[in-house]
């Protein structure tokens, strides 16, 4: 698979790998995908009192483009409000990384991950 420079860069030097405390009220966790499908993505966001995402962490089991999509996603959500982050589309990620058509589902997974993380955070603050 011939990947773009951007995918290779995120794959070689993934940004914001790690874990946040999922029991912390300011943290939202989204885990999407399944091992049987070959990709599992976990995105965590830490939201400050102003409703702005100040930190993001990921871990991903999956192919190079799944890893790159989630790494890019952590950069994209940082500094965004929850509402802004909720508008991130898979096409934004696919375009930025120039994903080949068979890898577009990786960007869909990333969009699902950010939505799941936001939902998790909101469920803690009902």
């Amino acid at each position: 698979m011939a990947y773009s420079e951007k995918v290779l860069d995120h794959y070689e030097n993934p940004r914001n790998v790690g874990v946040l405390d999922k029991n912390d009220d300011s943290v939202g966790t989204g885990m999407v995908g399944a091992p049987a499908c070959g990709d599992v993505m976990r995105l965590q966001i830490k939201v400050n009192d102003d409703g702005v995402i100040e930190e993001a962490r990921f871990k991903t089991y999956g192919c190079g483009s799944a890893i790159a999509s989630s790494s890019l996603l952590t950069e994209m959500v940082k500094g965004k409000t929850l509402d802004e982050a909720g508008t991130i589309k898979n096409s934004d990620i696919a375009e930025e990384l120039a994903l080949p058509p068979v890898k577009v589902h990786c960007s869909v997974l990333a969009e699902d991950a950010v939505k799941a993380a936001i939902d998790d955070y909101k469920s803690k603050h009902k």
Partner: protein, 404 residues
């Protein structure tokens, strides 16, 4: 040492320089370029002679009569000719075929085509080690079974089936037995004087010959009949028409000659290298070898690194040319059907890597791989949420995943 290192000898092999030399003698005006079917002049006679030498060289590796060798374009064509040819010829006798789920697509897709034509096919599930339980095979034999097709060595796992035993069973019931030997010729001893195999497919490019050339062994005693799939000038006793590709055939003959003379020694050397690689990788946590440890060819190591997806590992191992059973490396986006037929979980199938060592693999190359892999595994596991969960004692099989 040149990078990347080629560890994909089960996909194809480079042509042995000795083979290339022989092939180049069959191309230009000063060479043996004639059409072996030309009976009216020397050019044709010389070409025919070269083809017959090659036919003998192929036959000698497998202890067969040269008259039993039919040239084809490769093992895929040989499989098609054997399976469709037998099924069509014996269709009045019966329309049931037995094969195995782990066969090469050339066999499986030929069988699928016959199903569309109204034949019935039984696809055996192998045991977890990749071997076929002979009792289960016997239980599937029916009065209208006309053909059993089982490969000798599996291309993904390297597992060697007991084709001698299957041959005995098939012969006793007067069922034609076809074996795809693309991965076994030159790696495992084949003696068709004693093995009751009726048809056997060969490829040149898996054993240091050229691509685009193969052969089908068709037994003469007892005689096996085929319906031709390619019609034309009646070459190859009517079983496969088409002008013979002399340079390819000469190359295949030479490759088989070399294999016959060198395979015992070569396999010992390759096995030592494979074992070194295997023992080293088995030191890592959560790795699994796919396929039987004992009934396996020397050069293949199929291994799953749990909690890492195969394609991402291929990217990390870009200095090593290997292949993976991961869905992401296949056009179909399905993980390896061979590993799934062995009952391996989808996760382990996605996580599998095949190392295939061969004639030109060196100890230095193997040591480089051994040096490289553990770091890459660690790095990818650091990225893997599954590895983290495993370390935390989470039972992944009990997690409710949002499948997509």
């Amino acid at each position: 040492m040149k990078l990347p290192i080629y560890f994909d000898y089960a996909a194809t092999t480079p042509v042995d320089p000795r083979v290339a030399t022989k092939m180049m003698e069959c191309l230009t005006t000063t060479g043996n370029f004639g059409n072996p079917a030309s009976r009216s002049h020397e050019f044709g006679w010389h070409a025919e002679k070269a083809v017959e030498v090659a036919r003998k060289q192929v036959a000698e590796l497998i202890n067969a009569d040269p008259k039993e060798i039919v040239w084809t374009s490769g093992a895929t064509e040989s499989d098609n000719l054997a399976i469709k040819g037998v099924a069509h010829f014996y269709k009045k006798k019966g329309r049931h075929i037995i094969t195995c789920k782990t066969e090469h697509k050339a066999v499986l897709d030929s069988c699928r085509q016959l199903e569309r034509e109204g034949y019935e096919v039984t696809y055996l599930t192998p045991e977890a080690n990749g071997l076929i339980d002979l009792k289960k095979l016997e239980a599937e034999i029916r009065d209208d079974t006309v053909l059993i097709s089982i490969m000798h060595v599996n291309n993904e796992t390297g597992v060697i089936q007991d084709i001698s035993a299957i041959g005995e069973m098939a012969r006793a019931k007067k069922i034609v037995f076809h074996v795809d030997a693309a991965q076994s010729a030159g790696k495992v001893a084949i003696d068709l004087a004693s093995m009751k195999v009726d048809l056997m497919s060969f490829s040149a490019h898996k054993i240091y010959g050229p691509k685009g050339c193969g052969a089908l062994y068709v037994r003469r005693k007892p005689r096996v009949r085929l319906e031709a799939q390619m019609h034309g000038g009646g070459h190859e006793r009517g079983m496969r028409s088409g002008t013979l590709a002399v340079h390819q055939i000469v190359g295949m003959g030479e490759a088989f000659r070399i294999a016959r003379e060198e395979m015992v020694e070569e396999n010992q050397r390759i096995q030592q290298l494979r074992n070194r690689l295997e023992q080293s990788l088995m030191q890592l946590e959560e790795v699994y070898i796919n396929g039987d440890l004992e009934h396996r060819v020397a050069g293949i190591l199929n291994i799953s690194f749990n909690f890492i997806e195969g394609e991402s590992l291929l990217m990390a191992l870009k200095d090593l040319a290997v292949s993976s059973g991961s869905a992401c490396t296949s056009a179909s986006l399905e993980p390896s059907y061979v590993l799934r037929a062995l009952g391996r979980s989808d996760e382990l199938a996605h996580s599998s890597i095949r190392f295939a060592l061969g004639r030109f693999t060196t100890a230095e190359e193997v040591e480089h791989a051994i040096h490289l892999i553990p770091d890459k595994i660690e790095k990818l596991r650091e990225l893997s949420p599954l590895w983290e969960m495993y370390q935390d004692g989470v039972d992944l099989s009990k997690v409710q995943w949002a499948a997509h």
